[in-house]
């Protein structure tokens, strides 16, 4: 129904904003000052009012607190907590100072708010100009009702993504930026708010990390290798064995499928930290398993499951299998059920045995669906703090490592080195390095995988 000329101009989104500046009439130009004005006066009242409300609340926020955080961001606070002697009461009175951490955090929040308002601003101007153009062409601009209807069809992706996007920005992205920025400060034990301030130090933390401590680098390499080995074993053992288990249960002719699945799911029903703590107790040198083995006469001395370095490494991988296979079994079960039966039937008619069917039908199908999952699992295992920390605490501690033990991953080592010392800036620095490595590897693997390349053509 739209005029073709108008739609051409509307589609050219980027220039829309500047055209509004150049060619728009008075009302549109006023929309640069009062957001949404054009919309209100031209029939898109609701949309316009929303823009206006956003503008007002933003201004209120800046006046209230945003300005304080923003202005202090470059220095992260100037006033230190001071004390003044009060003779009458015989005490020191403390005058609160600036809190560097809160300034950093809410400075980031304010910057996000500014970013958001700029987006809204540009959009509001575009919309105002839009209305003007549509009016010029003699049509009525889409009403609120039309917009809402679109949200459920053409723009459905916007509807579905709104709530998740808000959630992610609030709980993931803003804290993430906050932590990344922290690596460029000197937030450590001697610079703790509220008593002390911390400030920007640029790349000094990175420099220190690489050049000051030679003892650390040897340990870093050893731990890096183990982290990688662990991630590979943990991820693939869980995946393959889980899939095989799912296949076993799923097979035609096996009864009580629900029963078998429930038994394995029981193990994830009990909180992980309980089962992990239990495991670490059960396999102690003086724990029940060893007592049982000795009573049964199978061994004369206690088997050092946890206190021996190599044993401990095998131990954590096996226990991790115990913890993780029920999950992978569930996932693969669900996907297996989705594989069309006819594929298998035609394979059987062609004379394929079960193994061939597995390799040529099941495996490729599963890999297609779950490659992104595998990648996330792999990286997740690189950062798998819980399992290692609760099972062995990263131990057994050894003097061959710098402040670390033989089952320590990079993250648990990071935790011991820095969070116990409250050296948050160093923690963030190391975390960034880990992150860069993981992210690069994942992006490469993900984008080259079949999942992405054959996304639309799988069937």
């Amino acid at each position: 129904m739209e005029d073709i000329n108008v739609s051409k101009e509307l589609k050219n989104d980027k220039s829309l904003f500047f055209n509004a500046l150049k060619k728009g009439n008075l009302i549109t130009k006023l929309s640069f000052i009062i957001m949404g004005l054009g919309c209100i006066l031209r029939g898109q009242i609701v949309k316009g009012l929303i823009f206006l409300a956003l503008q007002v609340s933003f201004i209120v926020y800046i006046l209230n607190s945003g300005w304080y955080y923003l202005s202090n961001l470059p220095t992260l606070g100037k006033e230190v907590q001071r004390q003044v002697w009060n003779e009458e009461l015989q005490i020191y009175e403390y005058k609160p100072g600036d809190n560097s951490m809160l300034i950093l955090l809410f400075g980031v929040v304010t910057i996000f708010a500014i970013g958001a308002i700029i987006l809204m601003y540009v959009k509001s101007v575009k919309e105002s100009y839009n209305c003007e153009l549509i009016r010029k062409a003699g049509n009525r601009p889409p009403t609120f009702k039309d917009d809402v209807k679109n949200l459920f069809d053409k723009n459905f992706h916007k509807t579905l993504l709104t709530l998740p996007a808000i959630g992610i920005i609030l709980t993931v992205i803003m804290p993430l930026i906050f932590m990344i920025l922290m690596a460029f400060t000197n937030f450590d034990k001697t610079h703790q708010p509220p008593g002390k301030l911390f400030t920007w130090v640029g790349f000094e933390n990175f420099k220190n990390l690489f050049f000051s401590n030679s003892k650390m680098s040897g340990t870093f390499v050893k731990i890096l290798i183990w982290t990688f080995v662990w991630a590979v074993f943990a991820t693939f053992s869980n995946y393959l064995l889980g899939m095989i288990l799912a296949l076993l249960i799923n097979k035609k002719g096996i009864k009580f499928k629900g029963f078998w699945r429930t038994i394995f799911v029981l193990t994830i029903a009990v909180p992980q930290f309980v089962t992990l703590l239990l495991m670490s107790r059960m396999f102690q040198d003086v724990g029940p398993i060893n007592i049982l083995l000795q009573k049964l006469g199978l061994t004369s001395q206690a088997i050092k499951f946890i206190t021996d370095g190599t044993n401990a490494k095998i131990f954590v991988i096996i226990v991790n299998m115990w913890v993780g296979i029920p999950y992978t079994m569930l996932i693969t079960s669900g996907i297996l059920m989705n594989i069309p039966e006819d594929l298998y039937e035609s394979a059987k008619i062609d004379g394929a045995g079960p193994v061939t069917a597995f390799m040529k039908i099941t495996l490729p199908y599963m890999l297609f669906v779950t490659t992104p999952y595998l990648i996330t699992q792999f990286v997740g295992n690189i950062n798998n703090f819980n399992v290692i920390y609760l099972l062995t605490g990263g131990g057994p501690n050894s003097l061959n490592y710098f402040q670390a033990g033989e089952t320590d991953l990079l993250v648990t080592w990071l935790y011991k080195l820095t969070v116990n010392e409250q050296n948050y800036s160093l923690a963030s620095t190391i975390a960034i390095i880990i992150f860069v490595i993981s992210a690069t590897l994942s992006l490469i693997a993900y984008n080259r995988s079949a999942s992405v390349q054959k996304e639309d053509t799988f069937q």
Binding site: V46, I50, Y69, I91, F106, G195, K196, N213, D285, V286
Partner: protein, 410 residues
């Protein structure tokens, strides 16, 4: 067309605006309020943090505090934060922290560095003279007092089964080992734990100190080497047993364990198991370079601090002082068997009659303050202990000690 949707939208807008306004207001720098302590403020609200098991006792003490200070109206609320978690919780969000909180003394440096502790200046001399020297030292930094001592029982000593180990045997480590071996039982000590293993080194005369913010450790000198030899001999003995002291010792004593080292928190469990055979004494002496040397230990205290950002400093200090005064330390001992730091209470007959506390008091004569131990000490010490427990002699003792000290002093 527009009328109904207009109304609905107006409501939505108001809601949207108010939420953003709330967020805006909440962000406001709210710790700018001046502390209103010109004395005579009508209602004083304070928050107190204590461990969960302490809550009932705290409530009782607060009631008596209100009784004794009828001139002001108090609104005192409670929160559950154990002493071990106090530092973490305070520093996470000082604004939300309690005005008065209990913490373990090894957290005092971090709290002080973060400017979270109020310097104690009222009745300072009284407090110093009323409490034991060790506890005051633990609460003092740079000559200034930053907390009120509450308990003095965060140390360790020897528990033993009298039916296996006689009082005479319990005086020396060799005696204990001999008695245990005769009865085919074990002697328990968590050597792969920096807290316990220090007893050998400290006893032998080694020291831990802080210089320029870094840890200085001399565990690898001659004395340290002799102590290490003793540790090696101990862990190599047939009767040696290790594990988690809080669980394995009370679980196995009377059964497979004849004696072990731990603190007061397992006293009840052990008493239940051993009954009349319950024995507690200071740590024994051990053979160090051929001589008998008394084992040392770490001394720990629980302190009560006042938050530096509190809005009612005077009242908070009064409350903190009240919670740790002589009368209440006695009450704490009676109700929860916690060892007092108050000198008079500690000298009382009741406290002296409590076996574990008496043993601890005996041992504290040989104890070192944990204040000068930095975080870098624990892992390497544990690693050394682990190697000893695993009987890993691939490197010489001196080498291992040097390695340990190098890592500690980083």
């Amino acid at each position: 067309m527009l009328k109904n949707s207009k109304k609905a939208m107006a409501l939505l807008l108001t809601a949207a605006m108010s939420t953003t306004l709330l967020a805006g207001c909440g962000n406001k720098k709210d710790d700018n309020a001046k502390s209103d302590n010109k004395g005579g403020s009508k209602k004083v609200s304070l928050k107190v943090w204590g461990a969960q098991d302490d809550q009932a006792l705290l409530k009782e003490m607060v009631e008596s505090f209100k009784e004794a200070h009828k001139d002001k109206e108090y609104d005192i609320s409670f929160g559950v934060v154990s002493e071990a978690d106090a530092k973490g919780k305070v520093l996470e969000d000082p604004a939300a922290a309690a005005d008065v909180f209990a913490f373990s003394n090894d957290q005092i440096w971090d709290l002080y560095n973060a400017g979270a502790l109020y310097e104690i200046t009222r009745n300072k001399d009284q407090i110093i003279s009323a409490n034991s020297e060790g506890s005051i030292e633990a609460a003092t930094i740079d000559g200034k007092l930053y907390a009120y001592p509450m308990t003095a029982d965060n140390g360790y000593f020897l528990y033993y089964d009298k039916s296996v180990v006689s009082d005479e045997d319990a005086k020396t480590l060799d005696g204990i080992l001999a008695a245990a071996n005769k009865a085919n039982k074990k002697v328990f000590m968590d050597v792969s734990n920096g807290w316990y293993i220090a007893s050998f080194f400290l006893g032998a005369g080694c020291t831990l100190s802080i210089k320029d913010g870094k840890q200085v450790c001399d565990f690898n000198n001659e004395k340290g080497l002799k102590a290490a030899e003793a540790i090696k001999a101990f862990t190599a003995d047939k009767a040696f047993m290790t594990g988690d002291a809080n669980e394995v010792l009370p679980g196995g004593i009377g059964d497979t364990i004849a004696a072990g080292v731990c603190g007061t928190w397992v006293a009840d469990a052990i008493k239940e198991k051993l009954g009349d055979n319950f024995g507690a004494a200071k740590l024994p002496t051990f053979t160090c370079g051929g001589e008998q040397v008394q084992m040392g230990s770490f001394a720990g205290y629980k302190l009560v601090g006042v938050k530096a950002q509190t809005k009612n400093p005077v009242e908070a200090m009064e409350l903190a002082e009240w919670l740790t005064n002589e009368q209440n330390q006695l009450l704490r001992f009676q109700k929860r068997a916690m060892g007092p730091s108050n000198v008079k209470v500690a000298e009382s007959a009741e406290v002296k009659a409590n076996l574990p506390l008496a043993a601890l008091a005996e041992q504290s004569k040989f104890a070192t303050s944990q204040k000068d131990v930095l975080n870098s000490y624990w892992t390497p010490a544990e690693a050394f202990g682990t190697a000893m427990e695993a009987k890993d002699y691939s490197k010489s003792l001196q080498e291992q000690l040097d390695e340990m000290v190098a890592q500690i002093q980083q």
